[in-house]
Symmetry: C2
Subunit: 451 residues, 2 copies
C-alpha cells in the first residue's frame, strides 16, 4: 500500500488517494502512515473521510498522533476528537505532553471534559483506566420491542451494543441482556423478566489484568464496571481486554529476561532508551556474580592442585541455571494464567522435589557415561573416577536445589507483594550459581584427598 500512496502523493492525485484509502481498514492505514515521512503524514491524513480518519488516528503510535495534532487547527482537532470514543481519547491523552493535553481538553465540550477527567483519575493499573463510559442501558420495565428501539436509536455512539445493561433509576446495576437474547425473545416480553441477574462485574479499582483474564475465562464481549455502591460507571470491551493481556504478558516475558519493561515497540525505541531498559539488571547481576567469584577465590589453593575441576564449572552452572529457570518459568506462567496460587505451594514443592531427583539422576548417569566415553576416550582427558563421582553427585544436588528454589521463590515473591516474574531465570541463576559452586567444592574437598 505504501508504494501506491507515495505514487499518488507524487502525482498529487488526491481523489485517487482518497478512493484507495477509503476501502482500507483503519489499522492498515495507520501502519502505512507510520512509514511515511513527517511532511506527508498530515497530507495523507487530510484526504481520509471523517469517520475513517478518526478510526485510523486511534490506531497510530503516539509520535504520529502528536505530529498530527500539532498540524491541526482547533476546529480540525475538535472534529477528530468528537468522533472518538471516550476511552480512546483518554488513552491518547495519557501519552501526550502537557500543552497538547490542554488543547485537547479545551476542544471538548464541558460534559465530555468532565468524563475524560474522571477516567484520567483512575490508577494506571485499574479497570477504571481502561473502561469506556459509552454503553447501552435499559430499564427493567421496558418491553423487548422498546429495548430494540432504544438500541437502534443510540447505536451510533456506543462502543458495543451487543451486551446491554439493565439499571435502576439511580444507576444500580440490576442485570445484563444480550442482543442475541433480545432477538430470540417475543417483542412484548419484559426485559426485567428475561435479563440475567447473576451478573459478573468488575469494580473501578480492580486490577485491569485480573479483569481482562476474567473476561477471557467467561468469553465476555464486555464486562460492566461498578463503583463501591454498585452503580454502573463503565464497561471494558473485549478488544481492550486483549490489549491488556498482551501487554501484561510482554511485561512478564521482559521481566523474566532481565529487562525493564517498556511498552514501546522495539523498532521505534531509541538506543539510549533500550540501553536504559537493559543496563540496570545487567549491572545488578554482574555485581552479584562477585559472590560466586569470591567462592572460587576462597578455593583457589584447592583448584590450583586440580585444575580439571574448573573445566566442569560452566556445565554445572548452566545446568543449574536451566533447571531452575524451567521450574520458575512454569510456576510464573501458571500464576499469570490463574492456574496456580499460594495455596498450592506444598503440592508444588513435593512435585518439584520428585521431578528434580528424576532429572538429577538422569543427568548424572548421562554425565558419567559422557565422561567415560567423550572426555576420557575421545578427548583423552584422563578424568579420575573420583572427580567423575564428585561431578555427578554435585549435579544431582544442584538440580535439586535449583528446582526447589526456582519453584518456591516466585510464589513467595507474590505472597510478599512482589512481582513473581522478576524472580525468573537471571535472578535464580545467580543464586543457584553460588550454591552450586559451594556444593561442588565442598564435595570435592571431602572426596578428593590432598585437596
Amino acid at each position: 500500500m505504501e508504494e501506491k500512496i507515495l505514487e499518488l502523493l507524487g502525482t498529487k492525485d488526491y481523489s485517487a488517494l482518497k478512493e484507495l484509502l477509503s476501502s482500507e481498514t483503519p489499522q492498515d492505514i495507520a501502519q502505512a502512515i507510520s512509514r511515511l515521512d513527517e511532511n506527508s503524514i498530515p497530507v495523507v491524513f487530510r484526504v481520509l473521510p471523517k469517520e475513517l480518519a478518526a478510526e485510523a488516528f486511534v490506531e497510530m503510535e503516539s509520535a504520529e498522533q502528536e505530529l498530527l495534532i500539532k498540524s491541526f487547527s482547533d476546529i480540525q482537532l475538535k472534529q477528530i476528537f468528537d468522533e472518538l470514543f471516550i476511552d480512546d481519547t483518554v488513552d491518547i491523552i495519557e501519552e501526550m505532553p502537557a500543552n497538547v493535553v490542554k488543547r485537547i481538553l479545551k476542544s471538548a465540550d464541558p460534559e465530555k471534559r468532565k468524563q475524560i477527567n474522571e477516567l484520567l483519575n483512575y490508577p494506571e493499573d485499574s479497570a477504571g483506566s481502561v473502561m469506556t463510559t459509552e454503553y447501552v442501558t435499559l430499564r427493567p420495565a421496558m418491553t423487548v420491542m422498546e429495548a430494540i428501539l432504544r438500541i437502534r436509536r443510540t447505536v451510533v455512539d456506543k462502543e458495543t451494543v451487543y451486551t446491554c445493561y439493565v439499571t435502576s433509576s439511580d444507576r444500580i446495576l440490576l442485570g445484563v441482556i444480550s442482543v442475541k437474547d433480545l432477538l430470540v425473545a417475543n417483542d412484548d416480553a419484559i426485559v426485567g423478566d428475561i435479563m440475567n441477574t447473576h451478573v459478573i462485574y468488575a469494580t473501578t479499582n480492580q486490577n485491569k489484568e485480573e479483569v481482562a483474564r476474567e473476561m477471557a475465562k467467561y468469553d465476555f464481549l464486555a464486562i460492566p464496571v461498578v463503583d463501591h455502591e454498585k452503580r454502573l460507571v463503565g464497561i471494558v470491551t473485549f478488544d481492550d481486554a486483549i490489549d491488556v493481556i498482551e501487554e501484561a504478558t510482554t511485561e512478564d516475558i521482559e521481566k523474566m529476561a532481565a529487562l525493564v519493561p517498556s511498552d514501546k515497540p522495539y523498532l521505534k525505541t531509541g538506543i539510549l532508551e533500550i540501553w536504559k531498559n537493559r543496563i540496570p539488571w545487567l549491572l545488578m547481576l554482574m555485581v552479584s556474580a562477585t559472590f560466586t567469584g569470591q567462592i572460587i577465590k576462597s578455593f583457589e589453593s584447592a583448584l590450583a592442585g586440580s585444575v580439571i575441576l574448573t573445566a566442569f564449572i560452566p556445565m554445572l552452572m548452566d545446568t543449574g541455571g536451566n533447571a531452575g529457570s524451567q521450574s520458575s518459568v512454569t510456576i510464573i506462567r501458571g500464576m499469570a494464567l490463574n492456574e496456580i496460587s499460594m495455596k498450592n505451594i506444598l503440592v508444588i514443592i513435593w512435585k518439584e522435589l520428585r521431578v528434580s531427583l528424576l532429572c538429577g539422576i538422569a543427568l548424572a548417569a548421562a554425565n558419567f557415561i559422557k565422561i567415560l566415553l567423550v572426555d576420557n576416550l575421545i578427548f583423552k582427558n584422563n578424568i579420575s573416577m573420583t572427580v567423575a563421582a564428585v561431578v555427578c553427585i554435585t549435579l544431582v544436588m544442584v538440580v535439586f536445589v535449583a528446582k526447589i528454589i526456582g519453584s518456591s521463590l516466585p510464589i513467595l515473591a507474590k505472597r510478599l507483594g512482589f512481582d513473581p516474574a522478576v524472580m525468573a531465570s537471571p535472578f535464580i541463576t545467580t543464586i543457584v550459581d553460588a550454591i552450586s559452586l559451594l556444593v561442588y567444592f565442598n564435595i570435592a574437598k571431602i572426596m578428593i584427598e590432598n585437596l
Copy 2:
C-alpha cells in the same frame, strides 16, 4: 462453592443443589466439578439443566470429560453432544481415546458426523482446526428487515450472530455486515448495498496463531474462513482466538525456558510427564557444555599459573548469557507480535551493535571500579591492573557478541523455517559461554606475560 456442593451431596438434597448450580456460570461449575472426587462428578453433572450441562461440559478438562462420557448412556451422550457447537465437539474429540471417539461419532446424526470429520481433517495448527461451521449467512438481495428476521429465526443454533456473512448461491463470500449495521439501517435497505465488501478473511490452511493475531489487530468478533475457491466454509470466533493466542504465548515462554511445550495445566501433570518435558533440553545443553569445559581444559596450564582468572569465569558467563537473552527475548516477542520481521534484520543488528557497545562499556567501567573497591580494598584479593584490564576488555567483547548473536539467531531461525523461540536464552547462553571463554583466555594470553 465446592463446600456447599459437598454439603448438599451429603444430605442428598438434589433440588437445592440444582438451584444452587443453576445461577452459576458454566466455567465456575466446571472448576468446582474438577475438585470433586470421581464418584461425585457424574452425580452433580446429572442435576444440571440440559443447556447448562452442555456448556459446563465444554469447559472441563479432558480427564473429567472422559470420565463423564464413560458414565453416560448412549441417549445421554447424544443429548449432551447435540447441544454442543461443532468446533467444541471437535476440540473434545481430539483429546479422547479411540473408543470414546467412536461412541461420540456414532451418536451424531449423519450430517453432523460429516461436518465433524471434515473439521478433524484440518492440520492441527490451521485456522480450519479451530473454526466453527455454525454462522449466519445472508444473501445480497435481502432487505434489512428480511435479514433481521432470518437472524431471529436461526439465532439459537449459531455461535455468534453479531457478524453476518453475505454469500452468493454457490457459497462465495461477497461481504460482511454486522448486526449493529443492520440495526442502524432502514428496514427496506438492501443488504448488498450496505454490506462491507472489503472483507478480511482467513483461509482454511492458514496458521491459526497468525489468524488469531489478525483478529486481535482488527478487533474482530469473528473472521470468515474460506477454501481455495473463496467459498465460505467456517468462522473463527474471538473466544477461540484468545485461547489460540494464550496457548501460543505459553508455548513460546516454555520454549524460551528450555521446556518441551505441554498444554496440560501444571497441577494436572504427572511427575513422569513433567520429567519428559524437561529432561531433553537439560541433557542436550549439558552435553553441549562439554565444549565449554574443553576450552577450559585446553588452557589448563595457563590457568594453573593464574587461578585468579578462574574467579571471573562465572561473572563473564552470566553477563554474556543475560545480555544475549535480553536481546533474543526482545526479538522473539517482537516477531510473535508481528512487530518485527526478516526485513528488519539490518536495522536490528545496527541497533544492537550500538546498544551492546553502550552496555559493554558501562559494565566494564562499573566492573573496573568494583575490582578496585570491592575485590582489592574490601576482599583484599590483590587483583593486578593487567588482570582487571583483561576482564574489562573481555566484558565489552562478550556483551557485543552476545547481543549480536542473541538478536540475529532468532530471525535467521525463523527464516530457515525453525521456531525462533527455541533460539532463546538457554541455547544462546551455551554458544555465548563458549565464545566468552575463548575470548577471555586469548586476551589473557596476549596481555599477561608468562601465561
